[in-house]
């Protein structure tokens, strides 16, 4: 045989069997110990968890005073969270100064809201149009009549006595319900070919988006009474509602404008060629598609709106955050961890609402995306 250098003469030793590519060990190797640097990162992360979790556990659970405990238990040295304080003041955090004998009214509002909202969010339940009408138009009226009283033999309860989570939810609800139609109008105005209408909408949107909400609230609470005819007083809560609504409608308008821009010209032209007028064209053809595109953005706006309602506490309205803040001055429950426990409780409440909204928006996004999935 000729000496052909590129042909092997001896067998190559067989390689060891590949290490496991599935199962727990393989998962560990791939996700935690892929390389030296990776192992170091894992160690740092693990060290952090070992450092952070035991103190947190003992603060919130281990050394904490459970609901039903006493103040004396909360005043012990190096005690954990004082859940007893939350349990004792929880009615204040939910209803504010609402008269105790009338608690059934906010409770009815909560129940009715849940009853209307859940079928609205559940895609498989029919009668969406009726449901939306009930929730967005009838429900707010019912809420106002029921909470404010003075009609149907209900004892009047002025808005100064509303408070806590109730007010936070009311401000968010009113902000959401009013800002969508206003936002749609502003967005359409900004897209308009009529120069005066366009300029007015651009000015309105850019002005509100440029300034912080706190100055808007100050403006609403200080300047709104100045702008009203003499002798006409505007309710404090209403002032805040006006501020929050104007502010969030500007943000809503920008989100909806994004949706409108994503709709091809052909859709507008097709509508026009069918002989539809402007409002029919927008209402039947453009807006249904545009709004579907921007549902995630709209929900994100709802989340920021819900978080921003906490700012009304600066202009003296007793929302959830302000009731918590006010309760930290409660000397009956004065304890080293009183303030921290209050803040953690408030944070948990806000977190649950915001996180569920963001999860729902993700779910909706996936559901509506089916047409484009590969």
């Amino acid at each position: 045989m000729s000496e052909t250098a590129y042909v092997r003469t001896e067998m190559v030793p067989s390689l060891p069997a590949p290490s496991r590519s599935s199962g727990f060990v393989a998962w560990l190797r791939k996700n935690l110990f892929a390389s030296v640097g990776d192992t170091l990162l894992t160690l740092v992360g693990a060290a952090f968890l070992i450092w952070a979790i035991p103190p947190l556990y003992s603060f919130f659970i281990g050394n904490a005073v459970p609901p039903g405990g006493t103040v004396e238990q909360c005043r012990v040295e190096s005690v954990g969270a004082c859940w007893a304080y939350i349990a004792a003041r929880v009615n204040f955090f939910i209803y504010g100064f609402y008269p105790i004998s009338e608690y059934w009214r906010p409770n009815t509002v909560f129940a009715l809201g849940a009853l209307l909202l859940i079928p609205l969010l559940w895609p498989r339940i029919p009668f969406k149009r009726l449901n939306a009408l009930l929730f967005f138009v009838v429900f707010p009226v019912v809420v106002y009549v029921l909470l404010n009283g003075g009609m149907f033999g209900l004892r009047p309860v002025p808005t100064e006595q509303w408070g806590g989570l109730l007010v936070t939810l009311i401000i968010s609800l009113v902000g959401i319900i009013c800002s969508i139609p206003l936002g749609i109008l502003l967005a359409l105005g900004r897209q308009s070919k009529l120069p005066i209408i366009k300029t007015l909408c651009v000015l309105f949107i850019e002005l509100w988006r440029a300034v912080p909400l706190i100055t808007v609230l100050f403006m609403a609470s200080i300047m709104l009474p100045l702008f009203m005819p003499q002798g006409m007083t505007v309710d404090k809560l209403l002032r805040a509602l006006v501020g929050v609504t104007l502010f969030s409608s500007a943000y809503m308008a920008e989100v909806i404008r994004g949706g409108l821009q994503a709709i091809g010209r052909g859709q507008y032209e097709a509508g026009a060629s069918l002989g539809l007028n402007y409002w029919q064209r927008m209402g039947f053809i453009v807006l249904p598609q545009a709004l579907k595109h921007v549902i995630p953005g709209i929900v994100n706006n709802f989340i920021s709106l819900f978080k921003d309602t906490s700012l009304v506490s600066i202009v003296g309205i007793f929302d959830l955050l302000n009731t918590i803040q006010a309760a930290t001055a409660d000397i009956n429950w004065a304890a080293p961890t009183q303030a921290v426990t209050g803040y953690v409780f408030a944070a948990a409440v806000y977190w649950v609402f915001c996180f569920s909204m963001s999860r729902y928006s993700l779910y909706m996004e996936r559901r509506l995306n089916t047409g484009h999935k590969r």
């Binding site: 007015l200 988006r209 300034v211 912080p212 300047m223 600066i314 921290v340 806000y350 977190w351 996180f355």
Partner: protein, 396 residues
Amino acid sequence: MAAIETERQEPPRPAFYNDPVVRGLFYQFVVGALVIAFIFWIVQNAAVNLAAQNKTTGFDFLWKTAGFGISFSLFPFDRTSFYWEAFLVGLTNTLLVAVIGVILATLLGFTIGIARLSSNWIIARLATVYIETIRNIPLLLQLFFWYFAVLKAMPAVRDSLALPFDMFINQRGLYVPKPLPDEQFFWVYIALALALAASVMISRWAKRQLEATGQRFPVFIVSAAIIVGLTAVVWIVSGASMDFDPPVLNRFNFRGGIELPPEFVALAFGLVIYTAAFIAETVRGGILAVSHGQTEAAQSLGLKDGDRLRLVIVPQAMRVIIPPLTSQYLNLTKNSSLGAAIGYPELVNVFTGTTLNQTGRAIEVIALTMAVYLTFSLTTSAVMNWYNARVALVER
């Protein structure tokens, strides 16, 4: 078959009240008239109300003595200063916390955004937990937490907690060493500026060189060498010296160093923690927006990992990241107004709070405050439009 004679006809003209142009003018006239009437109405109401309260209007109050003190200011301010000086103090305090917040939030946000994309399970999970927790809790609540529950619960001055680098923290705030550059340090600043200019020029030259000849030039190492080397040489040659004046605990308080009040520390900390979560999401979104095909294309061209990131992935990701990043910076600046709620003397606190209460000039004060934020916002969007035009995809 005879051709049908058709005559081209003018389309029938609609009645004038159906003409879109006329209708457009009419609608605009109606809306314009309503808006003007509304403005007229509120101005009139305001005038009547102000007259009834015996209040005057105008910006002349800015040149009156303020008569209140401000706990934290970058330049001297006391009770005899004017209202316009109070305005400036508020403005500079807002800018101070905004600039520090932007720098730190960018660093933290990029770190966490990249960590969330890490292939390391534990690191990615930690980053996710951080982002999902912080983003869903109102900033004001977080500020209350940092200020009332953390900083106010710090030990008293006598038992201050010692931090690394001669820093101390207690109820009255954070104490950091104060750098004391001597007069010769002027030359070091000049050397640093020169070195920075030189490295910018080198990187431009290297880019041209690369495009013209394909020759690579180690820009980063050379620039780093110039910046560090030149500065160090000048520092030694000029005999400049940098001393630090560390805070030292006396009987009752600290002496020396820089005292940062707890309001400032809480606000800066809260803003950084909160904004970093949003920046992290922006960064993650930007990196995920670069399609995997780009990575594969770069690999098939034979680019090394570092070059792939530097030349292909990062420039495309930055195009997606920068616009929302700027709006986060703007949000941070606007959110710094929440410092008013914890007593940090920024614009809203000093001006819309104290000044408004003392002078009663509600309209002027709020208009001026809004004008400041409007200026920030318009400047940012102008810069953004310029940047977008520069980096926009050039398509055929």
